[in-house]
């Protein structure tokens, strides 16, 4: 690769920017909508304009035949590069997307009504624009797939933009289902292509056309790719989704369904032309599909009464025309196809916008109610008439030239030994398109006005007809001077499609008396005759049965849904017990298979001596567990036994050289028990005996197997030696992390990122709890909670001794928490444990003095506590960036504090402070909300004072003189 100067590199960066700008710009319209629709439109248009300018900067190079490209490795293991390149074909499409996009944006500003959320519309439009540009500029097939799916998704949003309309939602869903299905097929096809070519890089793949066509995988790859292309470009038999997608606002129809998205399929055919075209399979499949689509859709279009539906089927027909040309496999046909893409985009986008204007100004799009619009809206009518003539293929407009080229190609095409099929059918399709164009013209714009319209029509503001005028000017200019206006573009694009210089063919209106001119003449005359006979033909058509695509599609979807429902109903019957049993049995089965394949002797690691304490603890644990098994219907008893087990576990940790774990376990045990008690207060106190003996035996069997398996596995591991990575942590804790408590250093330093994630998870859990215990319980839950009164309540809800003791304990416990926190880096302790201890101190106040009392004295919000904690931890990590170090790099220094002694101030301590705050916030938030629910359950108000028995009237509030109250005051907060 040659070295380029910085300027050249910047200019290459700009290629990627062409694609990325619309994505970035998509954020702007929703933000700018507050500044008004005009500003919002301007911002959107500017984004598009900058992209367009960046594209045009590349134009000279592209026209010289160069291919400006830029590439970054993204996921080289998958063959996915972020690679963008502009050749002739890409340039043509990118230009259409941006240029027509610009006109559509201007048009949409006037088209959308005041009630429509314009910001959202423009955001979707820009997303779509970016995705579309991504498809055409991608230099990597996998990247192309990503953008392909993005167009499917963003077009879904655009089609369903008017979400209050059922047709809009249904049309959007249908488009998503059909094009999404095609997208899946395309993924398969592209993966096969990459498999054959050994790379997903576009140029590599295109250069290997011979190898690809010779491969045994060629046919499956071709079928899959064609499925993708045909669904996207609405080719027969997938043509049905496009007319339903017309429920979208007209700017969307004009943009997606005439100029851009539906051409993505055609683009794909053109893009892969060097790699896949030219075989018999390609010719037979693609050209015939195109021909059939062109004929059938043109026939249907003739009978559509809705202007937009007529145009939709006409679009399908024209897409078929291009598909057919690309399918023929000759260079001249490809050239004609490219030329028609330009022409169709110009006249069809203009026509859609005209239809939108008619709808906007008259209030209807029904061709039977319209007529004579030329009198009332002369500008619109003139523009529409010119564009329609081009659509019909009447000289001297651009549609005529490319249609002549198409007919010329069709006249020479021999399909499977048959030399009349293509010429005849192509002429017939041209005849139908003359007929529907004439109907659009004569029934819509010319003749006399037919009856009153919902609104009194007149020409729209210039913002609406100007975009149409620009397009119609192009239609006329290309028609009159085809070689001068479009010749260069068609040549470079054709060269890019065929991978060879474009054929020396002059685009011109007049080529002499050729077969195609005669076919055109037949088509025009026949089309006019057909329109003259419209009524009888339509009656005849009405009388004959024909398949209704939407009904077939809906039926198919219903069958799929029913089948899926049946499968999931069988697998998911709503029984948690069954799911868990299946999962556990599966896990046991996996374990059993592994067990059968290994050795079964214990390892040779020296066994640790058994202490008498350990035996006592083991007996306690086994007894408590057995008790929980037998007595689990008595819930309170179960809870007591559970906390006993927790206590034993924490003592076991202590004995097995894990003081930090012991401290954590015991403090968690306390909060868990309080939490469960609070919940149990509202839940039933007994579990009824429901399961049959058979089920209990089965469950016991599963439990014993699981327990035995886990025990055996644990024993097998513990008796074997191992290599640990902890030597690093032990060696580096002091010099690298600045602390002697290795567990804490690992938590806040070596594995700080894990801890950061964990406190976020904790915070989310607490917020979920808060949401579940919403302040405003409604409906059944609210009624139920009102009926759960006090079942058995102590006469003394807030015992004096408890109240006094907890208040005295509060500052002491907070001091202990501070102590544990400060020493945590060097001795057992740290943010987790300190947070738990502090939380217990506060929770005790709730327990002893009631929710209302504690809440009134809490001067901070637990939500913010969690947020602050996570923020502090995160900012500590970010602070390392300032010093040019990676996230969460720690630093430390020693400080000598009076009384406390030598304290190490590590940045990790700030991180630990974040952990502390989060844990404290989470625990108190969870428990306080649970106790708030209790207070809802109690019909009588909770006593606001510290005690139920008021010792004396509280004169003057703070000045209390009784000795008991004095003790209270020292413990409580002012």
């Amino acid at each position: 690769m040659q070295r380029r100067g910085p300027g050249a590199i910047a200019s290459l960066m700009n290629i990627a920017l062409i694609v990325l700008l619309p994505f970035i710009g998509a954020i702007l319209p929703p933000l700018m909508i507050r500044a008004g629709r005009a500003i919002c439109t301007t911002v959107t248009a500017c984004t598009t304009l900058v992209s367009l300018a960046l594209l045009l900067v590349q134009a000279p190079a592209v026209f010289r035949g160069e291919v400006p490209a830029v590439r970054w490795e993204w996921l080289p293991q998958l063959g996915l590069d972020a690679s963008f390149r502009i050749d002739g074909l890409a340039f043509l499409f990118a230009f259409l997307i941006l240029f027509i996009g610009l006109l559509i944006i201007l048009y949409a500003r006037h088209y959308l009504s005041r009630e429509d959320p314009v910001g959202r519309f423009f955001a979707f439009l820009l997303l779509f624009q970016g995705a579309m540009l991504g498809i055409v500029l991608s230099g990597n097939l996998l990247l192309l797939l990503v953008f392909w799916e993005l167009t499917t998704l963003s077009s879904f949003l655009l089609i369903g933009y008017w979400r209050h309309l059922p047709e809009g939602r249904q049309g959007a869903r249908m488009a998503l289902a059909v094009t999404g299905l095609g997208g899946l097929a395309l993924i398969g096809g592209v993966l096969l292509l990459g498999q054959i070519a050994g790379s997903f890089d576009l140029e590599t793949v295109l250069a290997q056309g011979e190898a690809i066509k010779a491969s045994p995988l060629y046919l499956p790859a071709l079928i899959l790719v064609l499925l993708g292309a045909f669904t996207k470009s609405a080719q027969f038999p997938f043509h049905f989704w496009l007319p339903h997608a017309m429920a979208a606002p007209t700017p969307v129809s004009a943009y997606l369904h005439s100029a851009t998205m539906v051409k993505a399929g055609i683009f794909l055919l053109a893009r892969l032309w060097p790699a896949m075209a030219g075989t018999d399979a390609w010719f037979l499949a693609v050209s015939l599909t195109g021909l059939l689509t062109m004929g059938i859709a043109a026939w249907i279009a003739l009978f559509k009464d809705d202007l937009k539906a007529l145009l939709a089927f006409s679009t399908v027909s024209h897409l078929g025309l291009v598909t057919m040309l690309l399918g023929m496999g000759t260079k001249l046909a490809a050239m004609a196809g490219i030329f028609h893409i330009i022409n169709h985009a110009s006249f069809k986008a203009g026509l859609f916008m005209s239809a939108g204007i008619v709808d906007h100004e008259t209030g209807t799009r029904d061709i039977r109610r319209l007529g004579g619009l030329a009198h009332v809206m002369p500008i619109t009518a003139t523009l529409a008439i010119l564009a329609t003539l081009s659509m019909a293929g009447i000289p001297p407009f651009n549609g005529f030239i490319s249609k002549e080229m198409m007919l010329e190609e069709a006249a020479h095409t021999v399909y499977a030994g048959n030399d009349w099929l293509f010429p005849v059918l192509a002429t017939l399709a041209a005849l139908f398109s003359v007929a529907y164009s004439a109907r659009f013209l004569f029934h819509g714009f010319l003749g006399e006005t037919r009856g009153p319209l919902p609104r009194k029509p007149h020409d729209p503001p210039a913002g609406m007809w100007l975009p149409v005028a620009v397009l119609v000017a192009l239609v006329v200019a290309i028609g009159l001077f085809p070689e001068q206006v479009a010749g260069g573009l068609v040549d470079v694009a054709t060269a890019a499609v065929t991978g060879a210089p474009a054929p020396a063919y002059e685009l011109a209106l007049w080529h002499g008396i050729t077969p195609s001119l005669l076919m055109s003449g037949v088509a025009v005359a026949g089309g006019l005759v057909l329109l003259a006979l419209y009524k009888p033909v339509n009656n005849l058509r009405e009388a004959t049965p024909r398949p209704e695509a939407k009904r077939l599609f809906d039926g198919l979807i219903r069958i799929c849904v029913a089948a899926a429902a049946q499968v999931s109903d069988r697998l998911q019957n709503g029984s948690l017990q069954r799911y868990l049993a299946i999962m556990l049995v599966a896990a046991i089965a996996v374990g059993a298979v592994a067990f059968a394949g290994g050795t079964h002797l214990p390892g040779d690691r020296p066994i640790q001596p058994v202490t008498s304490t350990a035996v006592v603890l083991w007996v306690l644990l086994a007894g408590a567990s057995l008790g929980a098994l037998l007595l689990h219907r008595n819930r309170l008893m179960t809870l007591i036994l559970t906390s006993l087990v927790g206590l034993v576990v924490s003592l076991a940790f202590l004995g097995l050289s894990a003081p930090d774990l012991a401290l954590t376990q015991i403090s968690v045990e306390v909060v868990t028990t309080i939490l469960m008690l609070l919940a149990l207060n509202l839940l039933p106190k007994e579990t009824p005996r429901e399961s049959r003996a058979g089920q209990r035996t089965r469950d016991l069997g599963i439990a014993v197997l699981a327990g035995a398996g886990v025990a055996a596995a644990a024993f097998a591991v513990m008796t074997r030696g191992f290599e640990t990575i902890s030597d690093f942590h032990l060696a580096q804790a002091k010099p690298g992390g600045g602390g002697t408590n290795v567990v804490n250093v690992i938590l806040v330093d070596f594995r700080g990122y894990d801890t950061f994630g964990e406190i976020i998870v904790l915070g989310i859990a607490a917020l979920a709890i808060f949401a579940l215990l919403d302040r405003n319980l409604r409906g059944a839950a609210a009624r139920r909670i009102a009926t759960i009164g006090r079942v058995t309540e102590s006469m003394d809800a807030h015992p004096l001794i408890l109240v006094v003791a907890t208040r005295v304990l509060l500052p002491l416990m907070l001091m202990v928490a501070a102590f544990i926190f400060l020493r945590g880096h060097n001795q057992p302790g740290g943010g987790f444990i300190a947070g738990l201890v502090a939380a217990i101190a506060f929770i005790l106040q709730y327990v002893a003095s009631g929710f209302a009392w504690a809440r009134d004295r809490a001067h901070y919000d637990h939500h913010s506590m969690i947020g602050v904690g996570v923020l502090v931890a995160g900012l500590t990590g970010v602070a390392a960036w300032i010093f040019g170090r990676p996230f969460l790099t720690s630093a430390f220094t020693h400080v000598h504090l009076p009384l406390i002694g030598d304290v190490e101030i590590a940045s990790a301590m700030a991180f630990d402070l974040g952990v502390f705050a989060t844990v404290l916030g989470v625990v108190v938030l969870a428990l306080a909300n649970l106790s708030r629910i209790q207070s809802l359950a109690q019909p009588e108000p909770v006593p606001a004072g510290p005690m139920d028995i008021v010792l004396e009237p509280q004169a003057g509030g703070a000045t209390v003189e009784t000795s008991a109250a004095a003790i209270t005051a020292t413990g409580g907060r002012p």
Binding site: T638, T672, A703, V710, A714, L772
Partner: protein, 114 residues
Amino acid sequence: MELLVASAIGILTATGVYLLLRGRTFPVVVGLSFLTYGVNVFLFAMGRLTLDAPPIIDEAAASYTDPLPQALVLTAIVISFGMTALLVVLALRGYLERGSDRVELGAAEEGAET
């Protein structure tokens, strides 16, 4: 000692699994707590058992136990508190909404007024 710890893990797991398979929310939550104890001790045991050698750097200490499983289990204990709390509250809300604390969907809404 290894045998004691291993069998304790087994007992905790078995109790947890049995309670997990019950048809009401409260035993399921308790069962999950038991399972959590078992899993935490199991994880801890992956660092092998060591007596009197806490991972606190000290010049007098001859050896240390493996600190890494301890750090993992420490956060696991705290996270399991978060999980238990969420489950309990979920069970409570479910009970308040449906009037029944069965774990099955579509179970009869009996006992609404208990």
